[in-house]
Amino acid sequence: MEAHTKQSKKPKFKYGSQAKKDALSGYLYVAPFFILFLSFGIFPIFYNLYISLFSWKLFGAEPEFIGLQNYIWLLTDDPTFIKSVVNTFSIWIISTIPQLFIALVLAYVLNQAFVKMKDLFRMAIFMPFITSILAVTIIFNSLFSRDFGLINFILGTEGLDWKNNRFLAHFAIATMVNWRWIGYNTIIYMAGLQTIGKDLYEAATIDGANKVQQFFYITIPQLRPIILFTIIMSSIGGMSLFIEPLVFLDIRGGSANQGLTMFLYLYETAFGTKYNVGYSAAISWVMFVIIVMFALLNWFITTKVIKD
């Protein structure tokens, strides 16, 4: 790689040289991608900041500039937003922690040499990931039904109301999230496990470490970068959760907002009944700050807890 770059630098300034042609082609090939990406990927992020400074109703009067007023309302005078933040974190905790841990154990087990039919297990575990969230939620709606649900039947908890009790609703939503994402994370971890050298395990076996010790003292530390990656991604995903509560409950996250998440609140404010896009844009920026801070915190904790 090094040698190659040095070589191709030599004829750089000749007229019509390969270097010039490369640069021209480079710009040309990136241009269509970049123009579309700029217009529909990057510009909206900043446009959103602009919108958040206005009293702006879709289909309403002309937007009116109000500065930071939306943010002030949001942070000082909106109990519904606070509730949505608490709900989001509650669902995140009961989904992400078991999700990543189960995925890690599954990947570790699937990676053992004696396991047969690996492909079949991998496929079965990964299948939930390809289903639409809509279909997933419709099915879990039936499974978690109060009167006719299979879950109540299996648990022997007849008449347990999974939708209207706040904690139970969070649990049901977390179950949908876990079901969908465990397989995906398992696959990511398996790929990571294949990069760990066998000699580490052999040395540990000679030293008398059992499988459980090997898992905690070799597998987890060696996988640290990948575990970090999955924690960051599931923080972002979990903090942005909204389709599951939207379909499982309704656009307000249920009659008492028991399942209202931050993103669902943002969505409801803009497209529910209020069409208040200015306020909704402000929610998205506050949410953005919360997510980034939370992801950084997770990153910090993970690097502290898992040491090489």
Partner: protein, 273 residues
């Protein structure tokens, strides 16, 4: 002895996890082959019935699945082809051509991958300024390219295509586009297949953005048709689940035979590098 117990527990864990993963698919099948009356019984019926075709007909009469399928195929097809072409072309330039600013462009693209998903509001306002509401343009044009596509293709190009190969093609007199078309694309096939499945799947399954910008029956997509079956007046479980089931089947039909290649393609792209 201890070893044997460990193996037993491992298999038990794998089998239970697999059953839990697959069970909801079975459950979808059970409900779509029974009547709503049977689904609304306690204890629930857990074996398939014979009502599938009745439910299918009912779903067919309550939603325009033909139009929805046609729209979905146009949207998902256009986006998939466009992403494969523009993302691989840009990734080729970013990975193997030298030009000023390429690192900056790549960093910009990757950083948006790590950002929380952006709010749909600005995009809605942009799209309505273009007058694309209730038109398939609204669900196609913003997604013709994607940051993930470029990232994935660049990973694949860097692992599968050596700089020497590109160099020697140039020595033989190939122009850059010929190099991309004749050398990069054929080697990139497994990567392109992975990106194609991911993109197609994501567009096929999406319903939030389409439900915001597509209100007319004539432009609705499959997921919107299914969502439409579940309205305030309609609590017909068998009907709704049948709708969800028939829109899931095509994806299963694509996924199951290619799952091995797809899963390894996905992990190669996301973990390496």
């Amino acid at each position: 002895m201890k070893n044997r117990a460990g193996r037993f527990i491992s298999y038990l864990f794998l089998i239970i996890s697999s059953i839990i993963s697959v069970f909801p698919f079975y459950w979808m099948f059970v409900i779509s082959t029974n009547t709503t009356a049977a689904a609304n019984k306690f204890p629930p019926k857990i074996i398939p019935g014979d009502q599938f075709f009745a439910n299918l007909q009912n779903a067919w009469e309550n939603a325009d699945f033909i139009t929805a399928l046609f729209n979905t195929l146009i949207v998902a097809g256009t986006i998939t082809i466009s992403q494969l072409f523009f993302c691989s072309l840009a990734a080729f330039a970013l990975a193997r051509l030298q030009f000023k600013g390429r690192n900056f462009v790549f960093m910009l693209i990757v950083s948006t991958l790590l950002l929380p998903p952006a709010s749909p509001i600005p995009l809605y306002i942009i799209v309505s300024k273009f007058d694309w509401i209730n038109s398939l343009y609204a669900v196609v044009i913003p997604f013709l390219v994607g940051a993930f596509g470029v990232f994935l293709m660049k990973q694949f190009i860097e692992t599968a295509i050596h700089p020497e190969l590109i160099e020697s093609a140039k020595m033989d007199g190939a122009r850059n586009f010929q190099t991309y078309y004749r050398i990069v694309l054929p080697i990139l096939k497994p990567g392109l297949a992975t990106l194609a499945i991911i993109t197609f799947m994501a567009i096929w399954n999406d319903f939030v953005w389409p439900s915001i910008v597509l209100k007319d029956q004539s432009v609705q997509t499959l997921q919107l048709a299914v969502r439409g079956l579940q309205n305030a007046y309609n609590r017909d479980t068998a009907l709704i689940v049948t709708g969800a089931f028939i829109t899931t089947l095509p994806l299963l039909a694509i996924f199951i035979p290619f799952s091995r290649q797809f899963i390894s393609g996905l992990t190669e792209g996301s973990v390496k590098g």
